[in-house]
């Protein structure tokens, strides 16, 4: 019977290597695979900046929101000195939506004009990498490096997802085997991985300094990952990865994935940005931000080397980090202060949506992650300030 089943189900033949298979092998061998990974990241970032930055935001959205939307609201909304004008339209003398900081001006500009195109193109590129079969190869390639910080190759999935949005990235940490790995990944995600929304807004506000900010985050990711791996008890097992052959992504699947991911972003992010601006403006009106700024002035000015006005954006960062970075853009600062405050906003408390997902993963882990986070913000913020002083820029 076994022979009969074997005869009917098993096909014998000579294995012949194909060009696709050899190319697949070359992309996992370090000597050839690392340049390919560098090229893939280059393409990823280049398409991201060209589409989201040059084409959609700078090409159309800035013109529409600053040239038509803001002047129209400023003209029709009554009483520029009133509280409702401050909440919904913002600064009556503003020329751009970044400066206005009203719920209907900056709120819509940030969420629809800047962040939506960034998130859309990020998810498109991510889906193409995933469906072409390149992502598992990247996991194999990154395995050795990620083992040094207590993770394994498949940690590249939450890391890349986190560059889009930290919410699905925290959920994706479940693909890691041990509690130790999941904790390290979740903590590093919450602290050092900027989401697509943040990247989009950074690209609009500090295009010349974004490289320095990313470099600070990568260094911090490596240092604190290494330290966490040393101090947290637990295992870091090896993995066996099934690497599929390269495929052309199927159009229908790409569209479906893209739509689902963008839809969930629209549902979660847009209300948060609008309500976030409303909440922060209410705090400004009530004098709470001014009070907190005065209270934390010694820490911000002396320890971190940034102006005390950054307290407001840090409070907004809990609601939406992209919103906070947009708010930073209207505070007069030096280049160093801008880099330091953007890094601080990024590594500071995770946004509320990420916070909720982390809570779902376990309250003990969340409290431990937050404790680590406060220590990291304090140490790393001070370290950046020290480097700034040594370089003579702070």
């Amino acid at each position: 019977m076994v022979d009969e089943i074997t005869r009917q189900t098993v096909t014998y033949g000579t294995y012949k290597q194909t060009l696709g298979a050899v190319l697949g092998d070359l992309t996992v061998k370090p000597l050839t695979g690392i340049p390919v990974a560098v090229a893939a990241l280059y393409a990823f970032w280049s398409v991201f900046t060209s589409f989201a930055g040059e084409l959609v935001t700078d090409g159309f959205m800035v013109k529409f929101f600053d040239g038509l939307w803001l002047p129209w609201f400023q003209a029709i909304w009554p009483d520029p000195g009133s509280w409702h004008y401050f909440l919904f339209i913002g600064n009556p003398a503003a020329d751009t939506c970044f400066e206005a900081f009203g719920m209907l001006t900056s709120g819509l500009f940030v969420s629809v004009g800047v962040v939506l195109p960034a998130v859309f193109v990020f998810y498109l590129m991510m889906t193409l990498l995933e469906d072409s079969g390149y992502l598992p190869r990247l996991a194999v390639l990154m395995d050795t490096v990620l083992h040094r910080i207590g993770l394994h190759g498949y940690a590249i999935v939450p890391i890349i997802l986190g560059l889009g949005c930290n919410v699905p990235a925290v959920t994706a940490t479940r693909i890691l085997e041990t509690k130790k790995q999941r904790f390290i990944m979740m903590t590093l995600l919450a602290i050092f991985i900027p989401c697509g929304a943040q990247l989009g807004i950074m690209m609009s506000i500090i295009p010349d300094l974004i490289g320095v900010v990313i470099l600070c985050l990568i260094i911090g990711f490596g240092i604190f990952g290494f330290v966490l791996n040393k101090i947290i008890p637990g295992e870091n097992p090896e993995i066996l990865v099934d690497v599929p052959p390269y495929n052309w992504p199927v159009k229908e699947y790409v569209i479906k994935k893209l739509w689902n991911r963008t839809k969930s972003f629209l549902k979660e992010a847009v209300p948060f940005v609008l309500l976030g601006i409303l909440f922060v403006n209410l705090l400004y009106l009530g004098g709470v931000i001014q009070g907190l700024a005065n209270l934390f002035e010694p820490v911000f000015v002396t320890w971190f080397g940034v102006p005390k006005e950054t307290v407001g954006p840090l409070i907004a960062a809990f609601l939406r980090k992209d919103l906070a970075i947009a708010q930073l853009s209207i505070i007069p600062m030096t280049a160093y202060q801008m880099v330091a405050s953007v890094v601080l906003v990024t590594i500071y408390f995770p946004c509320v949506a990420t916070f909720v997902v982390m809570l779902r993963e376990g309250w003990k882990e969340l409290i431990a992650a937050i404790a680590v986070l406060f220590v990291v913000v304090f140490i790393y913020g001070g370290l950046i300030h020290a480097v700034g002083i040594l370089l003579g820029v702070a």
Partner: protein, 163 residues
């Protein structure tokens, strides 16, 4: 014994196709090095005929230049005995890296060409304005595209082998 020696000699032989890819690899390598050197400030910028290396941006010229250098090395490494599957794959991989850089350069031009620009009251660029964005000078990777099409021949050759 004599048969084995002849086979090894044939294996080592650089065919016209291999010679072509060696030249292409060398040109790609030199262009990549030039991208990096111009970015590093060795020269203020190169513009020769329809070729331009501006070198004004780390991402495009240093990072992109590194990718071009790797592409050149892959093509050079695969040019000897290029008809074999393993060697062809190296050349194809080098070509794909050049296409990645050239493709992103073309996409960047397209993204700049579609909107009308800050000064204009219109949103969309005019037809002539759109076409002007695609006028020379071009980056080295864009200029190399027609020459890398030889790689399509290698892909087809091995596709026939597979069938």
């Amino acid at each position: 014994m004599e048969h084995v020696d002849m086979k090894q000699e044939n294996d080592r032989k650089i065919t016209p196709l291999g010679f072509y890819f060696a030249l292409l690899g060398l040109a790609t390598l030199l262009f990549g090095m030039a991208d990096i050197l111009v970015w590093a400030g060795i020269r203020p910028g190169i513009e020769v005929g329809i070729l331009e290396i501006a070198g004004d941006d780390f991402f495009r010229w240093a990072w992109g230049g590194f990718v071009m250098v790797c592409a050149g090395i892959f093509m050079l490494a695969g040019s000897a005995r290029v008809e074999t599957l393993q060697q062809s794959a190296k050349v194809v991989l080098g070509g794909v890296l050049v296409w990645v850089i050239a493709g992103t350069d073309i996409f960047a031009r397209l993204c700049v060409a579609i909107p009308a620009g800050e000064a204009s009251p219109a949103f969309l660029n005019s037809c002539s304005g759109f076409l002007t964005e695609f006028a020379p000078p071009y980056t080295p990777a864009m200029l190399l595209i027609p020459f890398t099409l030889g790689i399509v021949y290698l892909i087809r050759m091995h596709a026939n082998d597979d069938s």
